[in-house]
């Protein structure tokens, strides 16, 4: 019986998968009726196959988020903040944009501007010059 089992073992596997021809299937079934060891083996194989089929589907983890963009460094941030100031300075230094007393007499009513605009500008200009001087000294 042992040699018959060994010979039939590949067929037993094919039998459990339904891959056998009708004649081979009858041969295997005949053997299974007589051999309890092979019956047990076939039952075990079915059990293994079923356990594999019943493995649960696992929940996929959420997709990983891309790393956050790094904060801009201090120097670029300062440069960005200085842009409007620089624009004002450039505009101020260009003579085409600098208001004159004649502009004031045309556009600004003297009652509202208690102090002439050019005096504010003068103060600011001096302040900027002072800052520049200190910066150079520093």
């Amino acid at each position: 019986m042992k040699s018959a089992c060994n010979l039939l073992e590949p067929l037993l596997h094919a039998y459990t998968e339904g891959w056998l021809s009708a004649s081979d299937r009858l041969r295997v079934e005949q053997h299974l009726r007589e051999c309890s060891a092979c019956r047990q083996k076939v039952a075990d194989w079915y059990a293994v196959a079923n356990a594999l089929r019943e493995l649960p589907t696992l929940p996929a983890p959420m997709p990983r988020l891309p790393a956050p963009e790094p904060e801009p460094r201090l120097v670029p941030r300062l440069a960005l903040a200085m842009c409007p100031v620089m624009a004002l300075l450039i505009a101020w230094h260009s003579s085409a944009w600098r208001p004159t007393l004649s502009h004031l007499s045309t556009y600004a009513p003297p009652r509202i501007i208690t102090k002439p605009l050019h005096s504010y500008a003068h103060t600011m200009h001096r302040w900027i010059a002072e800052v520049q001087r200190r910066w150079k000294a520093f």
């Binding site: 075990d44 996929a60 997709p63």
Partner: protein, 180 residues
């Protein structure tokens, strides 16, 4: 609900939301297969991501005559086998997987609910990787022998032999584990 083939067609017309729907439909199955072949959650996550990327770029090559799921899962299996080859040798990898039983529950531990499934997964990792892929595609994913053969690029007879050997090995190991 749109069929897979319709979604693929819409995707090829440039509708990216159609691909999102396909991902939502199959992401768990792709991850599960990758996890069972590779045995590690992080490696499986990488492989699943790679499989989706490859599926997206190779979508024009998809043949609508076969089910999308079969095409996708075969592609996933191939990505996993490549990932596996690119990593360490089989022996080292198996040893690592066998030793990977830390005292605190890992992601894998949390994913598994039952001891039997854990045992089976552990024993699956003892199989040679090609046998494992064949077993998972055939039993777990329900692909036919010819589809598995095409996915793994081997003759059908080889797949049948692998299935036989794998099932016999698992039967013996389970008997040893369960003390029967």
């Amino acid at each position: 609900m749109a069929s897979d083939a319709q979604l693929v067609e819409r995707c090829l017309r440039g509708e990216t939301t159609a691909f999102d729907t396909l991902v939502a439909r199959y992401r768990d199955r792709v991850f599960s297969l990758a996890f069972r072949i590779l045995g590690e959650a992080s490696a499986a996550e990488d492989a699943a991501q790679e499989a989706w990327l490859r599926a997206y770029t190779r979508l024009p090559m998809y043949d609508p005559a076969q089910p999308f799921s079969t095409w996708l899962l075969c592609l996933t299996a191939r990505v996993c086998l490549n990932a596996r080859r690119a990593r360490q040798t089989e022996q080292h990898y198996t040893e690592r997987a066998a030793k990977a039983q830390p005292p605190t529950p890992t992601l894998e531990e949390r994913i598994y609910e039952r001891e039997r499934q854990r045992t089976l997964q552990r024993l699956l990792l003892r199989l040679p990787v090609l046998q494992r892929a064949a077993v998972l595609l055939y039993y777990y994913e329900g692909l036919s022998v010819s589809e598995v053969a095409r996915a793994l690029d081997v003759p059908e007879g080889t797949v049948k032999t692998w299935l036989y050997r794998a099932r016999e090995s698992l039967r013996q190991w389970l008997q040893e584990e369960l003390g029967e």
